[in-house]
């Protein structure tokens, strides 16, 4: 990496000295997907060096979590990656359950997998749409946003909130879903999703301009992908069939039949196509969840962890006491430390949770997916043209709520 300005005399320009110049990409740039500032050193239109400055959206989430009880800290996770809020919650509740060694009823596990996959589709809709828009297409974005809207409506019907659901809870999920919602999700996966998504993708996948902007852009070898700590679609596009849902199954993923799409060329086009295929795989998982989901409780009945329902409180003094204690003091978690990582739509999203035996986490370190990927921005875009930076950034799928925490 060169430091400072790189001066160079050109053989054709005589005594004229042409120096590289430095520009700011962002922090307010529509293709920066949030508040990313990249200091770019350009040689003409060729990128020589990129220094991404992150942290403009830093809110100190991890510090705030240390001052909240375990349950109060849960909604912070919705606000990390606000494109796939339920996947963020998933890592956190699993980390708590691992420390508590808490059993989750089967229906709760199925519902979590179902809605995690639905938010994966929701996330990919946003990313696919904005990626194609970054490289010049407008229509597919509008179409896939329709699907995203459908997903958000499903979340609203399950939890009451479109985005920040706080629906996954330690021990299961907060509420059961109405039967009509499940049938509607099934119908949606059969009809509307494949139709609309297929239409939108038919405009993009074989489009000459789209391919020119993405094929052979930001090639990353397998070794580099491993060394830079890539995960999710970024490592799968490099040809490694690595998916935590398959290799380290959590909840009921070990009962699901699905394939892991991998890339062959490890460029931006492959990353895009891996996500496109994953949408269909997620739909497959959703269908299996709907078919296999048993009846029963959706949340653990351990009353020292999971608060009772309101109806129960009207009848039982015991339930009232539990409710009061759980919503004021919260539950205590045995001392220890765990690192739990799940496959979020963007890659490995991990939570390192340290408990000192009290009702508040002692330390909660969040592993954002974007940190490794964005760090590789410099070597991925070296030698590419300036407009390629937006394609690379779009293919990374970066969201700053999660990156900056």
């Amino acid at each position: 990496m060169s430091t400072g300005l790189h001066l160079e005399t050109s053989p054709t320009m005589g005594d004229e000295v042409i120096s590289n110049y430095t520009i700011n990409f962002g922090p307010q740039h529509p293709a920066a997907h949030g508040v990313l500032r990249m200091v770019m050193e350009l040689d003409g239109e060729i990128i020589e060096r990129i220094d991404p400055h992150v942290g403009l959206l830093h809110r100190g989430t991890e510090k705030l979590i240390e001052h909240k009880t375990y349950l109060q800290a849960l909604p912070y996770f919705d606000r990390l990656d606000y494109c796939s809020p339920l996947n963020m919650e998933h890592s956190y509740v699993l980390a708590i359950e691992k420390l508590l060694n808490l059993e989750v009823p089967l229906r709760g596990q199925y519902l979590r997998v179902l809605f995690a996959e639905l938010s994966r589709i929701c996330n990919h809709m946003l990313n696919i749409g904005s990626h194609v828009m970054d490289v010049g297409a407008m229509t597919p974005n509008l179409w896939v946003f329709e699907l995203r809207e459908d997903c958000l409506n499903f979340f609203e019907r399950a939890s009451g909130a479109r985005m920040h659901s706080a629906w996954f809870r330690p021990g299961g999920v907060h509420q059961d879903v109405p039967l009509k919602l499940l049938t509607d999700i099934g119908d949606w996966c059969d009809t509307r999703l494949p139709e609309l998504f297929g239409d939108a993708m038919s405009l993009v996948i074989d489009n000459r301009i789209f391919k020119q902007r993405n094929v052979d852009i930001a090639l990353v070898s397998k070794d580099d992908a491993i060394a830079w700590g890539f995960s999710g679609p970024m490592i799968r596009a490099a040809g490694l069939p690595w998916d935590l849902r398959k290799s380290q199954p959590y909840d009921v993923y070990d009962r699901m039949e699905f394939d892991i799409p991998v890339g062959t060329n490890s460029d931006c086009y492959d990353r895009f196509m891996v996500r496109v295929k994953e949408v269909y795989e997620s739909a497959k998982i959703i269908k299996q969840c709907l078919a296999q989901m048993p009846e029963g409780p959706v949340c653990s009945d351990d009353r020292k962890i999971v608060p009772p329902k309101r109806a129960e409180m009207k009848q039982s003094m015991e339930a009232l006491i539990h409710h009061f204690k759980l919503y004021t003091e919260g539950f205590h978690v045995p001392a220890g430390e765990v690192y739990v990582a799940t496959e979020s739509p963007k890659g490995e999203f991990g939570v390192y949770l340290v408990s000192d035996g009290s009702n508040k986490p002692y330390r909660c370190k969040i592993r954002p997916t974007a940190f490794s990927h964005l760090q590789a921005m410099d070597f991925m875009s070296k030698g590419h043209m300036l407009p390629d930076a937006t394609a690379i950034l779009g293919a990374i799928d970066v969201v700053f709520g999660e990156c900056d925490r």
């Binding site: 705030l64 808490l102 830079w228 935590l244 959590y250 690192y339 991990g350 760090q375």
Partner: protein, 302 residues
Amino acid sequence: MATVLHPAPKFASSEGVREALSAALGDSLVEAHEEHGELIFRVRREALEGALRTLRDDHAYQQLMEIAGADYPDRLDSDGGRFEVVYMLLSLTRNHRVMVKVRASEATPVPTATTLWPNAGWLEREVFDMYGVVFDGNTDLRRILTDYGFEGHPFRKDFPLTGYQELRYSQTERRVVYEPVELAQDLRQFDFMSPWEGADYVLPGDEKAAGTPTPPTVDKPRTTETPAQTGAGAKADAKAAKPSPARKSRTRAAGAPKPTESRPARAPRKGKSADTAAATEPAEAKKPTAPRKRTTKPKGDA
């Protein structure tokens, strides 16, 4: 370990891994334990790079997923290290995870891992930014998440949650200004530890009990032997039988109103003043207002 009930991610079995890796790490290892299904190796700080290299090259932990800092001000190690730096390693081929830990203080730099994994750069920058742990050999140890020109290390336990500085856009100065934090209301921190479990604060009122002076010791205790010593007797009875002097009646200050009970009742209202119909119902004879005359012609017609 107890039977696994939780649905958290299941990776390959750790059976025998602790022994194998402990042997491989040799004298760089301080301690190794398995808890909650996580394998944790604490290594000597100076030997960190070698230990990580052994794990990466000989034991197929190919990926560094995360470096987490943590602050334990109550748990200092022998050379005053209050911070812990935790490396999460992932093996793609063995499908296994381990954690490697070192202790450090502000003054004792941790060897960098950027020589092994390029993505350690930002992760170390984050630990440095949040805790002030220095990484020896990291050539680009700038702050990463906090603001440009930030001072202090915010994730330390002694750094207040609210911070020291706040910024706002000043309309008068037309720029963002930094000011010391001023809270309109105290941050609500509830303490749910019951006093029986050893709360580390004094309950309101308890401070009085702690400060009660012990009664002074006396040589000869005084006692009341006879009724006369109590002051009772005919003299006291006679004094009690006297009527107490009558209280002087108070005079009103000049201009003060009379007591309410002696004020005369208000005279009844005159007939029509209670009728409020005129205020609520519009007068019928009122002429409708004439429509306002247009002074200019509408422009669109031409």
